[in-house]
Symmetry: C2
DNA sequence: ACCTGAGTTCCATTTAATGGAACGACTCGG
DNA sequence: CCGAGTCGTTCCATTAAATGGAACTCAGGT
């Protein structure tokens, strides 16, 4: 199924900083003969996996792809439950919230809730972040054992640091980052899992550093923790530890 | 590229009321030999186009698919501009807002902004709606000429009715629906296009019928109209007609 | 133990993908 | 107006992969 893998490789090119692709982009990025690239993009176009932008030669993901993220959300009871919790916290506090999942060493948001405050962190759903460099990622990595984390990050340089951070996350029951990925932006994250499906998601609130003091932060942690605890209980997530604030 | 088309057919199965698929679901829905279905799902799994839910045999879209809708959004200046407008209107009025695109006779949301009011319409991003049965769909269909609409809906029964509705939409400059798709839910929609790329999007606000009178509705229309007009001017959408309230 | 339904694997056959090269379309600079 | 450069598509013989019937495995149910 070489075509399928090539098609998947093409779709992977759209990650983060590449909103569109041409035949020669694909040739450059994937190193395939341009005859193949041309036919592959054509076939993907005809299958609605891609579409051209206007009448140019630039391609973006096709309409077929638009609803799949939603199908993913619908397939998961856990994501639905987590979304309710974060949506409520987001409207209560006015800050932007996410639900994220981990994929190897990366995390990606599957749902987002825009904050309502005049100064709020803009949602970056669909952007993959390095798991070890974000609160939401660390809240998910903390669910793994030290061995599993070691296996993931072996030879990575950050391992010692990360191991220490994760043990703190495990002890606290939540992950916290202050101006880590983005200057002026703090984040809190709590993870919860569904043992029946082996899924784990992170409930996350991001907010402007200047707007929230420790007391305000702890209120948000408490709100997320309360919702997460109920989910953990209902689904039987025995690994969940209630945050200590 | 028969594999690609089969893979696309599998992905199409996830639309609306099908959150997961098994091998035999695929056999039933697509009528392919089960040997093929089994190998196809396996290949799609290995390409990250699908993933299994837990260790069951049920499949959902894979992680690879999660970011593609975001790449679609990023590829389009028009969607970005429209999102700003709807996000602002959504926070101002507290109602849920969407950006949608048309795909033949269907519309699908590409971005959503949850309302903040206690009573608000829940977002249904990723669900395809019949274009002729929704305000957002009609606001997009209204951009087509009568001939194009006729060609789309020929032999469809609704054509006469629809043509009349669309001429009203064209005259008013906005589409309106009251308790059409969902009891108790009203919607307003205004479309705007980017002539350089031939894209058209609909800016839409949905709200509980009981909460908003005509005056409130007209304020929201005015807010969307103002934003849409600016977009139309900046991008050169000469077909845009400013709503008359 | 025996069935039934779902999923996978095997194998010969058919069908489609591959990539080098030739061809067409467009742009830029002279 | 021409030629060089870039980009995309098409052609064709070769090679590799998809196909589907049948046999096989692995549950859960009786």
């Amino acid at each position: 199924m070489s075509v399928l893998n090539n098609a998947a490789d093409v779709l992977r090119c759209f990650g983060n900083d590449c909103p569109d692709l041409t035949v020669s982009d694909v040739v450059r990025l994937l190193g395939m003969p341009k005859a193949n690239a041309s036919r592959l993009l054509k076939a993907m176009r005809e299958a609605n996996m891609l579409e051209t932008i206007g009448d140019s030669h630039r391609h973006r993901p096709g309409r077929l792809m638009l609803d799949l993220a939603a199908a993913y959300r619908r397939s998961s009871l856990l994501i639905g439950r987590a979304s309710e919790v974060v949506a409520e916290a987001s409207t209560t506090f006015g800050h932007t919230g996410y639900i994220s999942v981990r994929d190897g060493k990366e995390v990606t948001a599957v749902a987002d809730f825009q904050g309502t405050n005049a100064l709020r962190v803009v949602s970056n759903i669909g952007r993959r972040l390095p798991a070890h460099l974000s609160a939401t990622g660390r809240s998910l990595l903390a669910r793994l054992g030290d061995e599993a984390v070691h296996a993931l990050y072996t030879g990575h340089g950050v391992l010692a640091d990360l191991t220490e951070q994760l043990s703190k996350v495990r002890h606290q029951g939540f992950a916290y980052s202050s101006q880590e990925a983005t200057p002026g932006v703090d984040a809190i994250a709590i993870s919860v899992a569904d043992p029946r499906t082996d899924e784990a998601v992170s409930l996350c609130i991001v907010y402007p550093h200047a707007l929230v003091d420790i007391k305000g932060r702890d209120e948000m942690i408490a709100a997320l923790a309360k919702g997460a605890a109920r989910i953990a209980e209902d689904l039987g997530d025995s690994a969940f530890v209630a945050p200590r604030i």
